[in-house]
Symmetry: C2
Subunit: 223 residues, 2 copies
């Protein structure tokens, strides 16, 4: 498939949703689906789906729609899930520990290869079968294993310094849970800042709004 160089971030952010919905359709044993029906289950328009997929070459057949399994595999390939990236996780407090145990990195395009912390009480302990290493082992680990992504679960105060260190060790992307919007100066470094609190505050707005007015003025959207 030909990848268009100017794909917008909104289209890219919709790809994981296609992946999830197509995966569910496969689980249901669906062989093919029209863009109209796919649009309907995903809460999009058929035209938006055609436009989105055309960014990557387009995969539908007039009058037949999309083959579920082959579209699923194309989306997985576009997302890079067939070429897993090595990832290290920094900070194994409550959140880091839960991510290490709960997130299925393998199916999302990553191999979690190293866990790091600076707390002597947890260094050497195991999380989900992986040994927690000390921060002093990070450099030699990165030189040896060449991870390309870091999951940051460290306090805001440490995030800037640790991210600079990681970039100098070859890290190209961050999944950042540090409650701090990393604004990396390097043009070729990618950051996904995760703010779970934003989602919670949005919910606060929507619930208050739905309680003030019935029927509601803003409806829940499929995501």
């Amino acid at each position: 498939m030909a990848k268009n160089e100017n794909v917008s971030i909104s289209v890219i952010r919709r790809l994981p949703r296609y992946y999830r919905f197509l995966s569910e359709l496969m689980r249901q044993g669906r062989d093919h689906i029209s863009s109209r029906e796919l649009a309907n289950v995903m809460g999009l328009t058929a035209s938006q789906i055609r436009q989105d997929l055309n960014c990557f070459g387009g995969f539908g057949q007039q009058g037949y729609g999309y083959r579920v399994e082959s579209l699923f595999q194309e989306v997985a390939r576009i997302l890079g899930l067939d070429q897993p990236l090595s990832a290290v996780l920094i900070g194994t407090g409550n959140l880091g520990r839960t991510l290490a145990l709960h997130i299925d990195f393998e199916t999302k395009g990553f191999r979690l290869t190293g866990l790091f912390d600076n707390n002597p009480a947890v260094i050497g302990t195991h999380i989900g079968g992986m040994k927690v290493m000390g921060m002093d082992e990070l450099e030699s680990f990165c030189r040896r294993e060449k991870p390309s992504v870091a999951v940051l679960c460290i306090p805001k105060e440490a995030a800037v310094m640790v991210s600079e260190l990681l970039i100098s060790l070859g890290i190209r992307g961050f999944w950042n849970f540090s409650h701090y919007d990393l604004a990396i100066e390097h043009e070729d470094i990618v950051v996904e800042n995760v703010h779970m609190g934003d989602s919670l505050m949005t919910l606060s707005y929507l619930v208050h709004d739905s309680m003030e007015s019935a029927p509601v003025s803003v409806k829940g959207k499929k995501e």
Copy 2:
């Protein structure tokens, strides 16, 4: 402030970001800020900021900009953070436990009032000072405490049934981590589906993209 009834979901989703950035400006001791500078730190345009805030009445003064603290307080009020909602959390496995301990519900507009699980091994234990109750206690708890929001950390398979039960008990909104897009039939029920894996897959795309092309075709965006 007058709330416009037709505020788009995109504007609503930006409000928590305003809240975070304004909170940081207050921490830095800033008294006021121009829409141009606020736009710059948030990665938006000044015109977009004016449009966003005009949905709620507009708070700037020509030639002076925004008073940081009063805008912060207005945004907090718009989000409903000054009228906290009672929330129950269902499912205290790894993820539920971490959310209970890690998320600062109080500053996000919620009071976490009850934790529930169906696992006899955890019922009666404490998480962050709160006792985990059995699912058989849910109904009497809801009738007594009248929570309006539920945090769902239960498997996909259980999510549909439990969400219907919760709606019958008065729940108006869901923060849904069940790996299942709740598509609630009830018009006045609000759902925030949280898919952390989507963010991870987006990162996979962006890192692969940045490794294929230097300089990159899609740059990291402030979020």
